[in-house]
Symmetry: C2
Subunit: 307 residues, 2 copies
């Protein structure tokens, strides 16, 4: 099997539905993934920060991944998060993702120890790549210092690209700092290295500077309009379209992001079970939920085809 074609466009870090007892709900998960692909997402970054991925065991994630493939979701559209604190966990899930034919994997650095060296992080990624030992692997680095507290530096990216060209395929920049995304683009986009903005707020800027799209939380609820910016970034209307999706994001991110996404899906999809989050997260309170839904409706927001 050859390497999958690289994913470009809008990816959603898919929120993970849980049953009342906190067990992952494969059926709702497959349904939501299919809706996302139908509604504008080019790819699915399942098991991301917004997926509560670190709140699940490797075994639970393997089962969900298998359920997606069995449920007809094309493996080539999948970019599962496979980076864990434990080297062996990262190897296990990455190997599984490659075996299933996933388009790529999005990899967090190990994030328990703080202030670790680039050399230690390099060894982590290199060891995973060597142990997986499969030319089909396309590894996207996941830079999200506000949460992981462990950044992926430009120097580390450079070292990884030069040792593993073609395998180290890109990055998701969730620093929230456009100047950092710009530096990644300026330094590496000519090296066949695909830069994804970690929020649709930077989608247009990213495209104008050689990026490949965005991987964004609100892709879970607003995939169509975000994809519309991606498809029309060269058009005269691009700035106006960008302003529209930014406005929607701002409504959502007034509330805690993950329970807000789930509350929106629960409300617009008429399926209250979606509101469940795993500890240590908590669902929105009634007031937060009311504000979110009221403001989204007032802005003309909808999720066509969901319910």
């Amino acid at each position: 099997m050859a390497k999958a074609k690289r994913i470009e466009g809008v990816l959603s870090p898919v929120v993970t539905p849980f049953k009342r007892d906190y067990a992952p709900d494969a059926e709702r998960f497959v349904r939501h993934c299919r809706w996302l692909l139908k509604s504008g997402c080019a790819g699915l970054a399942v098991f991301g920060t917004n997926s509560e991925a670190n709140s699940m065991s490797v075994g639970e994630k393997r089962k969900l991944l298998e359920a997606l493939i069995a449920g007809g979701v094309p493996a080539a559209a999948l970019m599962p998060g496979t980076g864990h604190n434990a080297l062996t966990d990262s190897i296990e899930l990455t190997r599984e993702a490659v075996k299933l034919g996933c388009g790529g994997v999005l990899m967090l650095p190990p994030f328990y120890y703080k202030g670790v060296s680039d050399e230690g992080l390099y060894r982590n990624f290199a060891e995973i790549i060597e142990r997986v030992g499969d030319e089909r692997l396309q590894l996207y680095l996941y830079h999200i210092p506000p949460v992981s507290q462990v950044p992926i530096s430009l120097a580390l990216i450079e070292k990884l690209i030069s040792k593993y060209p073609g395998i180290v395929a890109g990055v998701k920049d969730s620093s929230g700092d456009w100047s950092n995304t710009k530096a990644m683009l300026d330094n590496f986009s000519r090296n066949n290295f695909d830069v994804f903005a970690g929020s649709e707020e930077f989608l247009l800027a990213n495209m104008r500077n050689g990026g490949k799209g965005c991987i964004t939380a609100t892709g879970n609820v607003n995939p169509g309009p975000i994809d519309n910016v991606y498809r029309n970034w060269r058009s005269a209307e691009a700035d106006k379209l960008q302003a529209g999706i930014t406005a929607t994001r701002k409504i959502v991110q007034k509330q805690p992001m993950i329970p807000a996404l789930k509350a929106a899906i629960a409300s617009f999809g008429n399926d209250p079970q979606w509101k469940t989050v795993r500890p240590p997260l908590v669902e929105l309170n009634a007031e937060q939920e009311r504000t979110l839904i009221t403001e989204l409706k007032a802005a003309g927001f909808s999720m066509p085809g969901l319910a």
Copy 2:
């Protein structure tokens, strides 16, 4: 089987030896654990921060735990770290520890998401306790905000003690902030809640204020003298003894702690394979190692019976 007698005194968060290929080395691990118990440790907090516990999978930790028991280490002396980001991982390893008869478990909060609420953390611990569902469980909370970035507040401790008296048995305070340890002692030590200092620097102060001992990195290399402070905290010599162990600690912590502990064991035990750490950590460089060993020897440090 009844609840194990509570562990009091000096506990070591045992460093984990790895083979050249980074596989956990059960044989060296058992040997080091037996040496620690012979040399002054009352208990073994295996799978702590200094154990690189989060760099190992749940399966790897289960195997090491089983190897310890098979190797003759008494389960009642064990307080394994069983807190993970994933609720299901925490439940799995805690259940295993209780089944094996461990004296307690030391539990990190989930630490990927930052700024989580006490309510979310409460649900995490409560869910684990309920699912394990075993009266033998003795759960020690692990407060280490400099690394986890997720603190365990006094209010959370109070709520957990009042809901699960006897099960929520104590805390390790690795905040490095004596005033926080003091507040834990003042608020909860009368509630059958055992407070352990996270460093021997605070051992004497902790004992004088109603604490039960310490769980300390350098317990891996200096268990005898630390235990000597514990046993003699009421004596006229206590302050002098405390000054001695603090001086040794200060030599070790000039270097990155985990590779320094391993380098000391490698050197004084004449077993270089001990130096291996898993990524993202890196071993000491030659200069750091030379400084550490030279300074320890100059201070008269030894590890009797190790080699």
